[in-house]
Symmetry: C2
Subunit: 247 residues, 2 copies
């Protein structure tokens, strides 16, 4: 048996998220279906660094699986890309240490969120960004982001339907970068709760439009009350950008 580690990208538009669900097209079911075909009917389970929701994209999702095949990484990549649907793509393959685990071994993750800020929407961006054509105070948003960086209990920024008990996470970096018609948020942290990045974005947008003063974000954190934070920003603007392992 060899443990195969893959970095994959996918366009989340036509998926009901990452995880297998009955009668839904998901990233996991498409990949497991392809692996089953390759392994002549034998089921191969995959493990990902974490789930992504419906519409959410990935540039650097990481998965692992075990196979009886002995194939070079380049041939694996070719074979998988030939079997995968055209909205899932293998970026790289590596034969990993047998102890490697795509979820347990994650040391950090980077997510990005893309806002389209032009007055008019754009049909070509509708599945790849969140159209938000309102004035935003970037300084206020960056001040608010500073309160979020660090180790905190992020209960206020977590969807209520979650089984996770420990809601303490560390965000090491938040960047908000303005481009011509876009605003790109980057979040780097050791882990993110369910919907956390999208709720962080929703809250920062409330700060940007003046509905919440920047320092109030400190109180929202302390409250551990989801209802005080902003809305969950829509899934199509979110990208799982990179997953880090080791130091």
């Amino acid at each position: 048996m060899e443990r195969v580690k893959c970095i994959i990208a996918y366009d989340g538009t036509n998926f009901s998220g990452y995880q297998v669900q009955p009668n839904k097209r998901t990233v996991q079911s498409e990949i497991e279906g392809a692996l089953k075909k390759m392994h002549k009917g034998y089921e191969v389970k995959i493990v990902a660094s974490g789930r992504t929701d419906a519409k959410v994209h990935a540039l650097g999702q990481v998965i692992h699986f075990d196979s009886t095949f002995t194939i070079s990484p380049d041939r694996w990549k070719q074979a998988l890309n030939a079997l995968f649907p055209d909205d899932i793509q293998v970026k790289s393959v590596e034969i990993a240490d047998s102890g490697f685990h795509a979820r347990y071994d994650v040391s950090a993750k980077e997510y990005r969120y893309k806002l389209l800020t032009s007055h008019e929407g754009n049909v070509f961006e509708r599945n790849y960004s969140y159209h938000y054509p309102y004035p935003l105070d970037l300084d206020a948003m960056r001040k608010a982001a500073d309160y979020l960086v660090g180790t905190h209990d992020f209960s206020s920024f977590c969807a209520s339907r979650t089984g996770v008990k420990d809601k303490v996470r560390t965000i090491t970096h938040i960047q908000i970068e303005k481009q011509t018609d876009e605003l790109i948020f980057s979040f780097l942290g050791n882990g993110f709760l369910y919907n956390m990045v999208r709720i962080l974005v929703g809250t920062l947008l409330d700060v940007g439009r003046g509905a919440i003063p920047p320092f109030e974000v400190k109180n929202i954190l302390a409250s551990r009350d989801r209802t005080l934070a902003g809305k969950t920003a829509p899934g199509q603007g979110l990208y799982l950008w990179k997953v880090f392992y080791g130091d």
Copy 2:
């Protein structure tokens, strides 16, 4: 009755082209469906500057239709964008002269064609460009393009299934612009035959990879023989960019 002129954009990915076809989702049927709803069941026929094929996109398609409603252009735009599906968008509306005709009055059209030239494909570009990861001799392609500019019989660059008899058209400008991972072709002309831009691109790619010497394009034009030109480049790389009226 007022004649309404609209500039529209659409993402061609989920359309079987522009023109109405039984049991297919087309741009025309979606727009006429929305107009029928708006006009309380009364059928409103639209006329476009020309058709586009399955998968082909538009940034500046122009349509006209007649309506008994008296509405300002801004309100028209709002109403139509509220009724149209999210892959069709009205960019601007104008109340036109009653004699204006979106097809007959066209003086020129600009098409663009987008090639993704990076070694690896990109899931996010799969519906919006043609992945062509092979070396291309740009100088040779530009020389070949020079032979195509001007007034010619373009029979060699026209899909055989066409009813059009007169195949003389004037191309006023061809530009091939290299960007980091992209090659953008622009074609400006007084009119284009069925599949003409895609066959021009296919032929220029044959020149770029050295299969056809640039001067041979002159002979292909003169032959009026479709089989001598290159393949029809795929639809998803093509954009109807702009339609010109008047001088």
